[in-house]
Symmetry: C2
DNA sequence: GAAACTCACGCAATCGATTGCATTGAACTC
DNA sequence: GAGTTCAATGCAATCGATTGCGTGAGTTTC
């Protein structure tokens, strides 16, 4: 049996400072309402007793936990982890803690709903567009539970969101490759349950058509956003007997897999095939070749989404008109692409 | 002003089922103490009202939050993110949520202590050996706050820990390189505030001496565990005028930086210099060349540490005899190393 | 048939912080 | 100097779930 420490309560502080608990509470939350003499005495008592507030009691009374719930499909992914970092930092600055739920890790049965409605978290940051609308409603999205979707587009436009323009970004990738003289362009897309995947695919197709380029079915292969699937996608293309001169992968990890697959097939990147990734994860600039990619403002996505959520929680934003922030992504040209001919 | 939803309480359920709140509580926590008829009626009422427990109230009364605090120096790092994933998964299986604090992100002033002693978390998983002993004591490590240190060694041996044998692993790396015929071996170490860094450095030095190899000061360069610092370390070696035939980097990211730095200097890996990393992050096997590295059981570290912490919290483990789990790491030989001559 | 016992459930206190309202005493007004 | 105002503080209810203790009905025992 563990020895239970005696944790000082607000009553202990009150006794020590010879005031009531109410006064101690006021010193802590609205010091201007307490006389200077008393305030100093209480502050001293807080120090002397080593008092820290009991959040459980505060949450119960205040009906707020000062905690955000972050839900991402896969926290282990380097893309998300940067975002998580930004969320934790921003939340911390505002005095909020961050509970992290990862779909992969969590028991799907208790998934999100248990966390909410239970005063464990005041709002939800959803980095997973694959949750369907009815699910969002269950979670209270439409019933007033503060909710901000980020990075991946939610099916429900009534939800606040912080996104990048995936379709536009994908079009710019195709334009860039076209500008380098490429006419035979393939695409390794991601998980189709993610809206952002579909947007990137759509952007690819739209721009290919706009430029009068032929979309070759063998060159449009789905992946699952990891390196293995990028490798697998290239193997399929190789097996089909003919190769494009450029491949646009829907994220950097698949781009890495693609480059490795090319090498495996005796093809060089960018010599034989140019490759463009998406996200600009840390290793992209250090890979060999350094990968040309669509840089995403991951830190900004995490920060802005968190700030928006906190504003909503604290009542600064009307729920009526959903806020939609669209951030810009930027093409970073490195060594995995080259001018044709 | 946001519309506040009416969240059903245990009283609402009680009214609906025409029993007392106490009975509802019992149905939820020890159903065997309630008669079958009543139990069914209450269960139906729970469903009908959509009741979910108010964790704040429960925590207050029970003095437990069913939440773990995970503290890592840098959640954005791909090494840690896998561990985080495992922790969340394991905790979830046991009904615990995970609050994540990242040193980089968090306001250093509120850092850890505020989270604890405040009934926000029942225990601490510390993935950061750089916190000094006095700090640990402040956090209650010795006063009964459930605490498990993992991955990085805590200065205080009275703390439960789940570690790998960094020194031994580093020695095995040197032995391996020696076995390939390398005699001139360099080391890029990590942040010296981390105990694991020092252990790896010590293991390197010990084995070098044991094998009668000369430790060249210009070839032992500190880094900060990122790719940039690996690159910087190689630049320093190059600037010194002579190069080792093999470099052991204290993590994979620095190994990547090292390889890139070699290329920049017109040297090839493994042709001119063999490189060994540490950790075996996902990209290690997909890098060009695929990196020889010390594989660490990251998932196991996260899982075992979490299980241990929960056992301690729930009183299954005596605090008296600290538990020290030492996991094995394994050398994975890939293409960044070659036999000399 | 009464004592002893068991089972199912309700009552009410409790966890610790917050806050509307009441109280006190001092300062100020005419 | 009596009345008014105001600042500072205390009192006590409240948030929602848990649990020790008590009660009443039903069952068993001799």
């Amino acid at each position: 049996m563990a020895v239970t420490r005696k944790i000082p309560t607000i009553q202990d502080v009150a006794r020590h400072a010879q005031v009531s608990a109410a006064t101690v509470s006021r010193v802590l939350s609205s010091p201007e309402r307490v006389s200077e003499t008393t305030r100093k005495r209480v502050e001293e008592a807080v120090r002397a007793t080593g008092y820290t507030i009991n959040q459980a009691a505060r949450s119960l009374r205040m009906r707020s936990a000062r905690t955000l719930l972050l839900a991402a499909p896969d926290v282990g992914n380097p893309f998300y982890s940067t975002i998580v970092e930004a969320v934790i930092g921003t939340a911390g600055q505002h005095g909020y803690g961050v509970l992290v739920a990862s779909r992969l890790g969590d028991d799907p049965n208790r998934w999100l709903s248990d966390y909410l409605n239970s005063n464990r978290a005041d709002g939800l940051l959803l980095f997973d567009g694959s949750l369907d609308t009815s699910r969002l409603h269950d979670l209270g999205g439409a019933e007033g539970l503060p909710l901000v979707a980020a990075y991946d587009e939610p099916p429900d436009p009534a939800v606040h969101s912080v996104l990048i323009d995936n379709r536009e970004a994908a079009r710019r990738v195709v334009q860039f490759l076209h500008g380098l003289g490429h006419r035979q362009i393939g695409h390794v897309s991601g998980l189709s349950r993610n809206q952002s995947t579909n947007e990137r695919l759509l952007g690819f197709e739209t721009e290919m058509r706009a430029l009068g380029l032929k979309i070759v079915p063998e060159w449009v292969v789905p992946g699952i956003y990891n390196m293995e699937s990028g490798l697998g996608a290239v193997r399929k293309m190789v097996a089909s007997g003919h190769m494009p001169t450029a491949i646009f992968a829907a994220n950097d990890e698949m781009a890495i897999g693609v480059i490795r697959g090319l090498r495996e097939a005796g093809l060089s990147c960018p010599g034989d095939v140019s490759v463009v990734g998406f996200d600009d994860i840390a290793v992209a600039s250090y890979y060999d070749p350094a990968i040309t990619t669509m840089h995403q403002p991951r830190e900004a996505i995490g920060r802005i989404a968190t700030e928006a959520l906190i504003e909503i929680i604290e009542g600064d934003v009307s729920e009526e008109r959903p806020r939609h922030v669209m951030l810009k992504s930027e093409l970073v040209v490195r060594d995995s692409t080259r001018r044709l001919g």
